[in-house]
């Protein structure tokens, strides 16, 4: 019943528009715009909720109560925060590079939105099923570094610049294990299309066939999206807030929201590549596929938050050593083993 909720809605709208003799192109554009608005709404609401959830989770880990005064159980806390930042002064220091400085907060939010283009939310719910979905994901996530670099460089502040440099170093070193872990999944699925990868996990999820790949990916994605054991980019005790130091008001709010949206994207990628995407486990299809997707996403998010509130921040040299001397060799070995395993499997079968 709920399974075809969104697909059915789109179909119904399309037939209704066509029966009213709209031009086909108008229908297409309208439906595409509707999809974009839907994705944006999903993104914003989730980011708002995630901030609240993170604070609550952190409070729970530290035996505190967490926000509980604004709205029932403090659920409107982030709404109040966003409204406040909305009405706060946007401060532009004198010696900043005006264009990149003002452009960076706008661009930072476009990247997660672009990533949502290829993600299969449910059965038949892919905004655009790209052939090279995995490659697209990798390519677009790394663009974020350029935006952070823009912010850091143009702020004309030593802390911002240091943070931006760290973000570049981090992205360069952790992109490798991410790509290699993805490659092992692509080898198993035999396709770079995300919907194919999800379809290949119908029987067995890749987390069981690729446990090492999963671990590498889990850690490296955490680093790529700068979550706490690896949040050197805004290491508060050393470099104030990294590239965000000079931003105030809504500009800062955009960075803040983008951070949580990226975090959500990381969880979504783990879900899609390793946890079977929208596939229902044990054949429990009475829960619609998109709901399964959201449940799994929140499970992964909770795991990441657990990591975040448990571990300390590590030093930059430890972080780079870990990437180059440990994660990269292990992921290479993992690929080799996967290749040999696939070859043997084929030999046995035929």
């Amino acid at each position: 019943m709920g399974e075809n909720l969104f697909v059915g809605m789109a179909k119904g709208l399309r037939t209704w528009l066509e029966s009213n003799h709209f031009l086909p192109i108008v229908t297409d554009v309208f439906l595409m715009l509707l999809a974009v608005v839907g994705v944006l709404g999903f993104l914003f609401l989730n980011a708002l909720f995630l901030i609240y959830y993170d604070r609550k989770f952190g409070a729970w880990v530290q035996a505190r109560l967490g926000p509980n005064r604004v709205g029932p159980r403090g659920i409107f806390q982030t709404v109040a925060d966003t409204l406040k930042l909305f009405a706060k002064e946007i401060f532009i220091p004198n010696n900043v590079d005006r264009w990149p400085y003002l452009l960076a907060p706008v661009l930072i939010f476009t990247i997660p939105v672009m990533l949502f283009l290829v993600i299969p939310f449910g059965k038949g719910m892919v905004p655009y099923d790209l052939n090279l979905g995995v490659l697209y994901l990798v390519a677009v996530t790394s663009v974020e570094t350029i935006v952070l670099w823009m912010a850091g460089w143009s702020s004309n502040n030593k802390y911002s610049l240091l943070g931006a440099m760290r973000s570049v170093a981090q992205m360069l070193s952790y992109e490798m294990p991410v790509i290699f872990a993805m490659l092992s999944v692509v080898m198993m699925a035999g396709s770079m299309k995300l919907s194919d990868i999800v379809a290949a996990q119908q029987k067995v999820w890749f987390i069981f066939l690729q446990p090492v790949g999963f671990l590498i990916y889990f850690i490296a994605v955490n680093a790529e999206f700068k979550r706490t054991p690896f949040d050197l980019v805004e290491g508060e005790s050393e470099i104030i807030s990294g590239p965000y130091t000079e931003y105030s008001g809504m500009n800062f709010a955009l960075f803040f929201l983008a951070e949580y949206t990226n975090f959500m994207i990381g969880a979504i990628m783990v879900t899609t590549l390793f946890l079977g995407g929208w596939n229902a486990p044990f054949g429990w299809t009475f829960i619609p596929s998109w709901l399964w997707f959201i449940i799994k996403m929140y499970f992964v998010i909770t795991l990441y938050m657990w990591t975040r509130w448990t571990f300390l921040r590590i030093r930059i040299d430890q972080m780079l050593n870990f990437a180059w001397k440990f994660l990269l060799p292990v992921s290479l070995v993992n690929i080799f083993v996967t290749g040999v395993g696939l070859y043997l499997y084929r030999m046995i079968r035929w």
């Binding site: 604070r55 409070a59 530290q62 035996a63 505190r64 109560l65 967490g66 926000p67 509980n68 005064r69 604004v70 403090g74 806390q77 709404v79 109040a80 925060d81 966003t82 409204l83 406040k84 909305f86 009405a87 706060k88 002064e89 946007i90 401060f91 508060e236 005790s237 104030i240 807030s241 965000y244 130091t245 000079e246 931003y247 105030s248 008001g249 800062f252």
Partner: protein, 166 residues
Amino acid sequence: MEIKTIQSEEEKLIGKNVFLTTLDAVFNWARGNSLWPLTFGLACCAIEVMAAGGPKYDFSRFGYEVWRPSPRHADLMIVAGTITKKMQPLVLRLYEQMAEPKYVIAMGSCAISGGPFVDSYHVVPGANTFLPVDVYIPGCPPRPEALLYGWLELKRKIQNPRVVKK
């Protein structure tokens, strides 16, 4: 006398403008509920601020636990401790770096008047000599409950600007 009447007429006009006042009320509600403090402390009172953030007193209940290291993101400066003459310009600079609207809480007798060191040659006698202080919290040091009470009084002040005007 005359100035007073003019002001009240202006206020009446503003009061008629329903849209403006409701939007103000919404923003004041939001401001009062998300006072992000600037991470800094000057002396022993700062320890008490940390205690207020811990599990026992926990000001995150009110949504105030988002410590901001950068003054550009912060709304509230808690002057918690002794302000020495050497530190005073830096405190002032931090205040000036914060983006409007910004609020100041003077915590402890040092920040109110110089406290035990009031007649010292190197202590500034009170934060109000160079900062617009919104709420004073007496004590040496004030207990975490007192800090929370002061914080909530500031919230009341922000959310009911009329109370403060009178």
